[in-house]
Symmetry: D2
Subunit: 143 residues, 4 copies
């Protein structure tokens, strides 16, 4: 599949996720083994201290990991599990989650994701995640 096709398919998948639409998430790029998702920082995604809620960072990680995994496994994937470490409070214009495949077989991929807070041209690493993406054959059941 051509890289641009993959990106177009990915954008359609993201647009078919109501929760991603609610958050205004955008698939900046998708290539074999790599995915970049941007989430705008609006007042609605904050926690009580004015920073981005950890749940939004974990959403960005979960989704970028899944798109990276799907780029090598095919579109029918689910996140099996992931782990996230929060590094710094996140503030700025947007979150940028960059995920890559560390290793994959036919049925699952282990991926990593760094989540940055972007403000203008400056980016700050705010969280880092690692997880497993699994292919679901002609079904959405996770097992």
């Amino acid at each position: 599949m051509m890289k641009n096709d993959l990106h177009e398919i990915g954008k359609r998948v993201l647009a078919s996720q109501p929760f991603s639409v609610l958050l205004g998430a955008e698939l900046l790029s998708l290539a074999a083994g790599l995915a970049v998702i941007r989430v705008p920082v609006t007042p609605d995604v904050r926690q009580q201290h004015g920073h981005v809620h950890g749940g939004v960072l974990s959403y960005a990680a979960d989704n970028a990991l899944a798109f990276a995994g799907g780029s090598v496994l095919g579109p029918g994937v689910v996140t099996s599990e992931f782990k996230i470490n929060y590094l710094r409070p996140a503030a700025g214009d947007s979150l940028v989650a960059r995920a890559g495949v560390v290793h994959h077989g036919r049925r699952q991929a282990v991926c990593r994701c760094d989540i940055f807070a972007a403000s203008g041209r400056s980016e700050t690493l705010c969280a880092t995640a690692q997880g497993t993406i699994r292919k679901v054959s002609s079904s959405v059941s996770p097992d």
Copy 2:
């Protein structure tokens, strides 16, 4: 502190999180070492297959873990890290995240959380999480 006071304080903290307000999250209970958060399942929180997006389950886990940790450490806490395993596709009327403290010292608490999809009186375990909550003394910095 009395249990009811703790619940009231917790409700005010949750109400001061714009992202939790956006999702309609509700603190069903908060007692020393235990927190229960409910998130209504609306069309907005779904993914492309019609189930609840994993990012919403991870939000519920992150927040319930933090409230459980805060119930023993005091209100100024952040989630340091957590890990979540997705067990089944989540559907129903609401998510119910039940978190408890496994162990804590003065500065951090290790907590677990089970996330159920509730439909009427029936509940199905959909995800399980484990993580670390850390006290941030008179500051919001994670370190």
Copy 3:
């Protein structure tokens, strides 16, 4: 399969792991969805402060999780991934790792494990773990 058969099979599997033999690990019990492994605390398993090395606790977690998973999936399993939180320094006569299956399908099981340091009749929770065990069909390849 009868419970006693399962325990016998499990003991033979443990005895066929040279690393478990090196550490003197013992399968105290194995039943559908539950495994208990004991590791004696000898001078050889300590770290620089005299406590049990974290790597021994992580070994006990990894193995107890795998035996719990294998008790419902069948003997040909591998640990896909796990996460461990260390709670207290471990000292005493032995470590006791108790693992249980939280959820499983045909191909994988999500399990939890608590690791205790035992001294006489007293036990102290020292670490807690959560992970995924995966069936490997007629092969030892993890994918």
Copy 4:
């Protein structure tokens, strides 16, 4: 502190861990933010299929993460938590665990570690880990 001093201090710490001595672990390098630990693959560290036991990989991850964290936090550190994904069965002459600091403050460091199986000059990535290392001030208590 000079880089060579750090390496010498690290080697003394490793030599004071009886479990690391039992496994024949060697600190190949230690610099600010980076640690490399080698563990020889002997018959004693295998599991039932002849590969290296996952518990040995998790030991290597735990220890390399802690040395990387200690290289920036100072020698009095403990592993708070980590997560490991197993990618391939490990076989060969030795394991090489390479850990690096992703982010650190004064009291804790978030680190990653890749664990390779080395055979002659060839290396194969077998597992990847991510975790938190914490400074313990003038005490070995984890909290």
